[in-house]
Symmetry: C2
Subunit: 352 residues, 2 copies
Amino acid sequence: MATHDIAVIPGDGIGPEVVDAALPLVEDAAAASGVTFETTRFEWGTEYYLDHGEMMPEDALDRLEGFDAIFLGAVGHPEVPDHVTLHGLLLPIRKGFDQYVCKRPNVLFEGIESPLRGYGSGDIDFVVYRENTEGEYADVGGREHRGLAHETAVQSALFTRRGTERIVRAAFEAATEREGHLTSITKSNAQAHSMVFWDDVVADVAREFPSVDVERLLVDAAAMDLIRRPHEFDVVVASNLFGDILTDIGAQITGSMGLAPSGNVHPSDEYPSMFEPVHGSAPDIVGRGVANPLATVLSWSLLFEDLGERRTANALWDAVVDQLAASSAPRTPDLGGSEGTEAVVSDLQSRL
Amino acid sequence: MATHDIAVIPGDGIGPEVVDAALPLVEDAAAASGVTFETTRFEWGTEYYLDHGEMMPEDALDRLEGFDAIFLGAVGHPEVPDHVTLHGLLLPIRKGFDQYVCKRPNVLFEGIESPLRGYGSGDIDFVVYRENTEGEYADVGGREHRGLAHETAVQSALFTRRGTERIVRAAFEAATEREGHLTSITKSNAQAHSMVFWDDVVADVAREFPSVDVERLLVDAAAMDLIRRPHEFDVVVASNLFGDILTDIGAQITGSMGLAPSGNVHPSDEYPSMFEPVHGSAPDIVGRGVANPLATVLSWSLLFEDLGERRTANALWDAVVDQLAASSAPRTPDLGGSEGTEAVVSDLQSRL
Ligand SMILES: CC(C)[C@H](C(=O)O)[C@@H](O)C(=O)O
Ligand SMILES: CC(C)[C@H](C(=O)O)[C@@H](O)C(=O)O
């Protein structure tokens, strides 16, 4: 069997803590299911920026391109503006490797209390397919007349047919493998240029998937409904910005940002996909050894699933599910516990 | 004392139901506090559109301009696209009368159960100042190459210094009259053209208000934090789109869209301000007599407050607060009751 080559970018803040802690566990899970992989570490991020004036070297994408997948810890630093750090590392990789599917499962696991009254384990289980390369995050716009009374800033959201069709199609495909229910998020009532176009594309692609039942929901109503009736969602497809907001709500209602995994997927072999926990670099808890490694472990699970290594993927996912369900298992403070990263990982090890 | 001239546009769906039911109550509250007002009804909306091909007559703004305030029920119809109905009535008034402050209080009233665990009466009390005339809802953009593989849609968010400064300043002023805490919502890490500009304006205006403590929060984090720690918010200032999303979350965590009032305020005498419940036309319950009139009554309260008629404003607000706190008072189905609009209004009447 071929060895998978994985690039690992631990990044900033708690990124290296969770990545380093999880790696031995991931290796064990792979070994136990007969999968071999090798990791190559890239020490890029804000430290690198402070030394070199850039978040990663100019040829970073060339160096990453040959890998089968990328694992990213976190990016962001309290002393460097986000539009420097993110635009210097995370976003160029998402865009450069055309990782147009940002896939974010939201599951309320057994043993986790949702902040929503009346919701218990298993009641929430949906996945968001977020467009990840264009839309409201397109680097199109500008600012004129700085500091003057008529100063004006423009930020243009860019939606292409190709870009929209492919994320919508990916979401429809996911729906056929789940409950067959797709919710498309729009704001057509106020953004008639972009969102009416989005609706049209959804209507076009829907014809290819007659078995999928499609609901259109305005982003403001969707934000409400994720609080009011999250159990009714199955697959959600949304633009870059809307998906960003709704997945954070999804993480919150399923208990903790510390449990939210994600994949930035380019669905062909042309480029590597990148997997990362949804949480950020969490400067407030850096160095204290209490960062929750579970989103990292779940993100590795998504990575192996994407590589077709279902057994490894399941072993990691199930270890997390088991641990959360066990009332005496160690937990980090964000989940109400008082244990550290290492204790959580060694407990997972015993559940492989 | 001068008579206030109020234009009333009942609009679509449950709009006329809640407007008509509430009006006698509003008249009584005004009379009891020595305030006189006259209403002029405008039967504009989707019915009008189906007859005339437009949501309101061409000279609508001229006809509304002389009024002291406008009360709007709801706009929207299941058979006519929102970008027709809203762009034909609601949005032209907001923009035409330069109603740049969309003010939306979010209060968890006694007697209302929040969907959030652990939150009880009084625990949530913040107000959102949403920019209401530009930003992501600017009608700037277009769509080319329709139906072709290279079709592209652009939706440009437009932020002007004047437009941004004035909403930010209004929010700072509100903060000085409340707890002195302002949260500014951005997405500067991904929208570097518009949102870094927004941050700069906030920093500029902040210098005029040294007593106000300012927090910057990314919109995705804010959506999470409204679920995780809503009690910590006081005044929130946000762009048109971000304010839209966050106020819907605010309505939901404080129990019901049926309780959320709003004002579209132009803060000088040049144009009338417009008040409306945040809920829409609710086609699913039209004609059943069960629409919740409370958001309408609270919106009238905001209207009188804006006209400087504090006693009338308080009488209406307090009647709602009283009713909600009374466990035996009638409630509409959205609040878990089984009574209708009329029963709720007559109970309010007894509490004036
Ligand atoms: C850090 C930021 C640019 C990023 C985004 O909005 O895409 C993050 O919020 C996420 O959701 O991955
Ligand atoms: C109907 C729609 C255009 C409107 C908006 O987004 O402004 C509504 O959602 C609101 O919040 O008042």
